[in-house]
Every structure is written in C-alpha cells, then in structure tokens.
Subunit: 365 residues, 2 copies
C-alpha cells in the first residue's frame, strides 16, 4: 500500500501467526544421509505434491495458485522484511512449514535429530540474522525426555516457544500424564506452548458439497480439543504459569468453550476427575491465547466477555493470510472497539507473551 | 423458589431446549409386536443401562444420581406444569428422550412406524392436553421420502419443528443432495429443523484424565458441523426461509464459526463448490439459531457481534439443565445487557420461530 495524503495512516501490528519456508536442503545439509533420507521432504508430481516422512507418504492436491500468490519474501529473509514493512507488520511468531510434518515421526533418533537440525537452522539462518521474526522450537514427540532436553537447549539459545500440533493420535492426547515432564519443563523455562491449527491430523475429511469450507471448519475443532484436554486433564491447573497459544483458528470461540466446560464441570461434577482448583473458564482466561486473521468476531467479543488474550496474525506467507490486504483488514477490524482493545489485540497480548523488539514510536497504531 | 418480599422478582422465560420422558409402553401399545420388539427400549442392569434399537445394543453407564435428581414432573404432565410455574418457564420446545434413538434405525418400515407412533403419542398425550409444552416431530432417517410425508402429516397436526441429530454416519452428512427433498418440505411447511446436541453419534469418545469434561466438549463440535454442512453445502442458501436450531450446545460460538467459514469461503475461493449467494456468516445470522442453559458468553457476545438468534433453554428434566436453580441462573445471566437483549434471549427469538401461547402480562421479565 502506497502512503499518500489520501490514504489512511498505516497501522502497525505484531503477528502471532506467520510461517517460515524452510530451504529444501535444511535436513540434507545438516544430518547424516541415513537420517536426512527419512526427514520430511516434498516432491511435486503432475497433480499432487507428495510428502515423505520416515517412510510415510502423504499426497496433497497440487496448488499452483498458492505458489503464484506467494509473497516475494517467502523464501528470502531480506525481502521478507520489506514485505513486513509494506504490510505494517513489525514482529512475527513464525511457525514451521515443512517442519510441521516432524510430528508424524515416531522413531526416537530421527525425531530428536530432525528437531535439533530445524532449531539450529532457525537459530542460525532466521533468528540470529534479524530481531523481528522469531520461531518456536520444534521438539520430538517420539520421546518426551528428548522433548524436555530440546526445550532446555533451545531456551538457552533464545527460543521463547515450542510448536505443538493440535491433532493427536489416540493414546497421545495432551491431557495424558505422559506429557507432564514437557509441561513442567516449559513452565520452568517460560516457554510458550504454541499449538497451530491444521497440524497433526488429516485435513481433508469430507469431499461432498461445500467440502472446502467444511474442511476449513474441521481444522478448528482440534484447537478447541487441545484446550479441553489441557484444562480438563489438569495440566494448566498444575502449571499456572504455563501459557498456551492456539494459532490461526479464530478467537471468539474461546469464551464459548470456557462456559461450556464450566457447565460440564459443574453439572457432571460427580464424574469429574481430576478436580481443578479453578473453574475451566478461569484457567482459560488466564492461560489460553488465540490468534485470528480476518474474523470481526474475534475483536467484537472482547468487551462483552472480558476475554482479552486475543492476538491478530497475518499468516504470512499463506493463502489464508492477509498479505496484500493487511492494511485493509486492520482498518476494517477495529471500527467498533476502544483504542485499548485495538492495542491489546495488535500489540499488547503479543508483548505480554513474548520478549520482542519494540515497535518504533513513529509507527502508528 | 418461594416468593417473599426479599426475593427478587421472578423472571419468566420460554425454554427452547427441554425434553419429554416417554412412557415405557409408547411403542408396544401402538405398534404390532413384530415392530414394537425392535423399537427403542431400555433395560437396567446392575451397572449399565442397555438400550436396544432394532438389534443394536448400546450400553450406557447407569446413573442413579440422575434419577435422584429428576424433577417431580418428569413423567407427569400435570405435575410438570407445576414445575414450570415454580421455575418461571412458560413454554417449552420439548425434545424426545428415548425417541432420540430412532435415528439409529436403518430399516425403512420400522423407521417410518416408530416415528409415526411417537408423533401420534406426542400429539395425543402431550400437545393436545395443554398449550405450553410442544415437541418437534420425529421423522425417519431411513428414507427421505418417508421423512417428507411425515413432515406433511405432522405439520397438519400442528407440529412446528422436526428433531434431527447432530451426528451423522459417513454418507449421510446434512450437506448431501440426498436430503434436498427434506429441506424443501420443511421450508414449504414452515417447519423448523431442530438439531439437538449429543444425538446421532458416540458421546463417550475419551476415557483419560478430564474425560467427563472433554466428552461434554466433544458433543459441541457436531453442532458446529451441522452448521458448516448446511451452510457450505448450500441447503440454507437454496432455502432462505428454512430455520435451523442447534439446541443445548451454547451460542457464543456461532459468530466465531460464521467468520471462520467466511475466511475459508473467501481465501480458498478457487476450491469452493457450490458458490453461495450470500456469505456464510450472513446465512448463519439469518437462519441459524442456538440455545444454551448457563453460559454467560451466550448473552455477552450479542451486543458486540450483533448475532441475536440466541435462545435460553432449561434442558428440563436433564442433569445439564437448570431445574432447581432456574431463577438464580436467569438473574445471574442478564446483569450486563440491555432489556432488549434480555427479552430477545428469553422470549423474542423463541416467539419469532414458534407460534406459542403468549406469556401472561402479569409474568415479569
């Protein structure tokens, strides 16, 4: 957006949901061949992109349109910072792209080394080269002890969050006691748990009429499910300093599920184990954060419900994101609410969770 | 609640989500033995209640506590009206109880006759005997033509809604073209589609820590899924007079999923089939209604989002309901909102959907 006298003032915001695009040689250049061959990689066929992860093969519809839409800085950090300046985005929590598929790995050595290599790459090639874009660390889900060690190692390197998938296999749900060491380590290091929508499960579950929108909705429920397990299972109650982000799934649903969980907790009280020291909605309001891109409701519900852990995200460089229309989106979102709520959603919540480079004083809100 | 000088004034409301408890001989007294034997029935063992439906057997945890909690009027219509007077509830949309299990029937004759018998029972024993409690009709899901005929028959008898389950088997999703005659018939007769949470699927999907609350949350997603299929599949767009109620699952999530579906519809537009004449959120705001029992957020989001199709429900005589604390609940819910919103949630939305006995002028709001 070119600034002219007639154009509205540029709004500057942090983005709690962006992505880095890893180079194709990330793992091949950093791991021995026997491991690199099993790390996540993508091959493009005529109609499908095929993802390979440790012997698993996942076909995805090829989407040339998405490539065409990709912002100039998707693969180049210096150009990316120019994209950010153009869009009015100061700091980004940038999730993985290919790295998301690391959650499919069940082999202990492979899981550990893929995570370490990704984190080393991010530290060297992303986070050490500038101070506006930072990533969560990846941790191995194949072994909780390895995940704890990687939290300790990456916290030392300056990582402030770990990425976790919303979808889980049966027996791996986030409320199970097996994850307790992970929560203890994250709490001890002030590491934010950054769950991202659309990860850890199948994203195309329906192929009938309206499938594209139905499937988009289907990615939403696993984010809600994470909250239900982390709260009802007691993890967030036992670790009151632990912070959970559900990225990209909207935010207006959070107070709704808080009330719904309260109703279940109270009305089905004789079946409830464990008992919690606070109501689910209280735990959610103090420890669960959510990010959205376009949703007016994410902003509109704040004043009425008092749920303020809402963050905007640009989802750069993805198709669901705001690249090319960030200013239009931001100007549209905040017409009905106070300057305090605008500040909270675009900057304050993010700055509460993360130690980030402050937005220069000459950048408007 | 006894009215004394010190007690707050009684608030009178309609309930968009209540239940009738059918007599054990409903089907045996109305169907030939060869069909009655296959109709839904319940047997109580030592630890489990066993439900039989046409050869299927479903074990449910026995819950003496729920029996002990049951309001006096659960099985007696005259006593029930006294319960309603005590609680401050004027009119109730009363869903089935055992009748819910009719959705499991796949045999055409059985499905048709079980539905007819239930509707005849409701007409004779519930709706003809008083004018405050009315039920949706049951329709057979085993054959859409039979369902259409039962809509026509029951509309003539004075039914204003049909009950439909939120959960569907694969190949039966509500967005599929096979249901088109049902939507056309419902629209033609002004019949409301009353979907109820916790029906048509498995309600205990997780047995780990926090299972009671996690499973309570799991019943919420199928209600959202109904909306996504009915909107994205185009049914509500093709039938703009059709009204959908999602009962018992809360209401504050509705604007959230409207925005989420808009984002999918716009950002993934090149994959979207069918195209809609209105945005998903517009369709939802004019045709989707939701009911809740206790949730403060269901009321709190109305002013900010402008989503007003919100109805309170008492869930009488169920454990998740407000029997015994209805007045406490109603007095607590409306402290922060305008009298207009209070009227809308407790009376106006319900009276917009249904032709009901008006609340006498001496009953306060």
């Amino acid at each position: 957006m070119t600034q002219t006298d007639a154009a509205p003032r540029k709004i500057w915001a942090h983005s709690a949901d962006s992505h880095v695009m890893e180079p194709a040689d990330l793992w091949t250049s950093r791991l021995p061949k026997r491991l690199a061959d099993r790390a996540p990689r993508s091959e493009r066929g005529d109609k499908y992109e095929i993802l390979y992860i440790d012997g698993q093969q996942i076909d995805r519809q090829l989407n040339d349109f998405m490539d065409a839409m990709r912002p100039p800085g998707a693969f180049d950090l210096d150009v990316r910072l120019k994209d950010l300046d153009q869009e009015g985005v100061w700091s980004q929590l940038a999730f993985p792209s290919m790295g998301f598929w690391s959650v499919n790995i069940t082999d202990r050595e492979l899981g550990r080394e893929v995570a370490r290599a990704w984190n080393d790459w991010s530290h060297e090639e992303v986070m050490s080269r500038q101070d506006r874009i930072f990533t969560p660390a990846i941790v191995s889900l194949a072994d909780v002890g390895d995940a704890v060690k990687e939290i300790e190692r990456t916290a030392e390197m300056g990582f402030q969050a770990i990425f976790l998938p919303c979808g889980t296999r049966p027996g791996e749900e986030w409320g199970l006691d097996k994850w307790e060491p992970l929560w203890a380590a994250a709490e001890a290091h002030g590491t934010v748990l950054a769950f991202h929508i659309g990860t850890g499960g199948e994203n195309v579950v329906y192929r009938g009429p309206g499938g594209a929108v139905v499937n988009y909705m289907e990615t939403t429920y696993p984010g809600m499910r994470v909250v239900s397990h982390m709260v009802a299972g007691g993890a967030l109650d036992r670790h009151p300093e632990l912070k959970v982000v559900i990225a990209e799934g909207g935010a207006a649903w959070v107070p709704a599920i808080g009330d719904r969980m309260d109703e279940g907790y109270r009305q089905h009280g004789m079946f409830v184990r464990p008992k919690l020291s606070r109501l689910p909605s209280e735990i959610i309001r103090s420890q669960v954060y959510a990010s959205f891109q376009h949703d007016p409701s994410a902003v509109e519900v704040i004043e009425g419900t008092g749920y303020t852990n809402v963050m905007w995200g640009d989802d750069y460089p993805h198709l669901e994101g705001t690249y090319g229309h960030t200013q239009e989106t931001l100007h549209g979102l905040f017409t009905k609410v106070s300057p305090e709520i605008k500040h909270r959603v675009l900057r304050g919540t993010f700055e509460e969770l993360f130690d980030v480079s402050p937005i220069p004083a000459d950048k408007g809100l």
